[in-house]
């Protein structure tokens, strides 16, 4: 008779993430229990990155023949929300990888897709997004990194800062000046002249392995350019940022949901002078606002996703609105979540201190909230004029 299988010794099979429910199950098993420790360690372990690959989380929107699952954007938003509920650092790594993979799918030639898509889908190659520089963030047109055409391809020079996943990524999507325009370039991290300096002191998304990346006479082949050159090259960046904004909006919804779940559990268990915390009207008011805002933010996100799936240009404004609403609500509710937890809100035994630190990041990245408001206000005036 065969020896009985010791179930406890077998690794649980990783089920593919295909929708919100399977994403939630993956995140509850493999991310939520460890997120505070990763924040402390300032890194997400390789093992987790591999598990994400096994679950098909890295680029499920790629077509099936390129290694993806052809996932629609509404579902992708729900999946990124669930990852953001568990850990914003992991979601940030997923966001920048998504930005690179989507840009490749949208603008890449068949040869470029052949070269990279499958490895991006499995996570064998991890991507990062390099736009910001020490001297230029919101003002993307002010970047100083250059790409100069040579007989054999391109030469890149410049410094990129605050690059999420920069310490770990294998492939960088680098935005650089090409004459008066901005082009997108795929640069393998192993290219001679690429120098990576970890950024260790950071307020939020501390496990997202940020780096400064310097490109010092980096030679790239002619196939490094992604998308058109010339004026229309700017479109590539606009599209990449739109996808990033969508993912950050989703992650922000996830933060509000995590605040709600943490506060619901804490307010149910905690007693103050014989009264349950959850019975106090001022505390109940905070929870009711979380419930309302998380639903509103999720609907804005899903509408932006629906418009993306329809190929409707209105998705760009819908995504700005979703990201602005969700990120400001996340920062507000994460602050209230710390408040509800009292001193426990400041320690490491609960997730809310981390949520608070991470939520602040959402108000700055992928278009700061000032930039969002400027853009949304433009739409307000357009609407007024159209009437």
């Amino acid at each position: 008779m065969a020896a009985p299988v010791m179930l406890g010794e077998l690794a649980e099979p990783i089920l593919p993430v295909t929708d919100r429910a399977s994403a939630r199950a993956f995140v509850d098993d493999h991310i939520v229990p460890y997120a505070n420790a990763w924040e402390q360690a300032a890194c997400v372990p390789e093992h987790t990155l591999e598990l994400m690959g096994e679950a098909g989380l890295w680029a499920p929107f790629l077509p099936v023949d390129e290694g993806g699952a052809g996932m629609d954007m509404v579902t992708l938003g729900a999946v990124h929300e669930e990852v953001g509920r568990g850990c914003s650092s992991v979601r940030s790594l997923l966001t920048v990888h998504t930005m690179l993979s989507w840009t490749l799918q949208r603008w890449g030639t068949p040869e470029q897709r052949d070269r990279w898509a499958k490895d991006l889908a499995t996570g064998r190659v991890l991507g990062a997004f390099c736009l910001t520089e020490p001297g230029a963030g919101s003002d993307a047109a002010g970047i100083a990194t250059t790409a100069t055409r040579t007989a054999d391809g391109w030469v890149l020079n410049g410094v990129k800062k605050w690059i999420t996943g920069g310490q770990r990524a294998d492939l960088y999507l680098v935005f650089a000046r090409v004459g008066s325009s901005i082009g997108a370039f795929l640069v393998p991290r192993e290219s001679p002249g690429v120098h990576v300096t970890p950024i260790t002191e950071i307020l939020g998304t501390r496990a997202s392995m940020l780096a400064e990346v310097r490109f010092d006479h980096v030679l790239a082949g002619p196939d490094a350019l992604l998308g058109p050159s010339g004026f229309t090259a700017g479109m590539v960046l606009s599209g990449t940022l739109d996808l990033g904004r969508y993912s950050v909006a989703a992650g922000s919804v996830g933060i509000i949901q995590a605040c709600l779940e943490a506060c619901g559990a804490y307010a149910t268990a905690r007693e103050i002078g014989g009264t349950r915390l959850g019975g106090l009207q001022l505390i109940r008011a905070k929870l009711s606002d979380m419930v309302t805002d998380v639903r509103a933010a999720r609907l804005l996100l899903s509408e932006a996703g629906r418009l993306k799936d329809a190929g409707d240009a209105a998705t760009i404004m819908a995504t700005w609105v979703a990201k602005y609403f969700a990120s400001t609500a996340a920062a507000r509710h994460a602050s209230e979540a710390v408040q509800i937890h009292g001193a426990n809100g400041f320690g490491g035994d609960y997730p809310v201190a981390r949520l608070y630190r991470d939520a602040k990041v959402m108000e700055v990245i992928e278009g700061s909230n000032e930039i969002q408001r400027i853009t949304i206000a433009d739409e307000a005036f357009r609407e007024a004029l159209r009437q």
């Binding site: 739109d242 357009r382 004029l385």
Partner: protein
Amino acid sequence: MSQNVEEQVLDFVRGRFPQERFDADQDIFQLGFVNSLFALELVMFIEKTFAITIRGEELQIDNFRTATAMAALVARHQQAPAASGA
């Protein structure tokens, strides 16, 4: 057909810049306020409205300067559907 395409393109551009006046042969990029965000919206609008995919070499500014040029681009795709996505 291409008259209709021109009108639809012009409607979209006017909706985006309601304070401006446009006609079919006006170079919208020369007006100075068109940015890369609008260029992306324009490409998305044309792809969705006329069910075509614009790729690679076609993404040249000359194809998008005027409503007439955009109508010609759409007509080229509709005459040779096999070329879409090239």
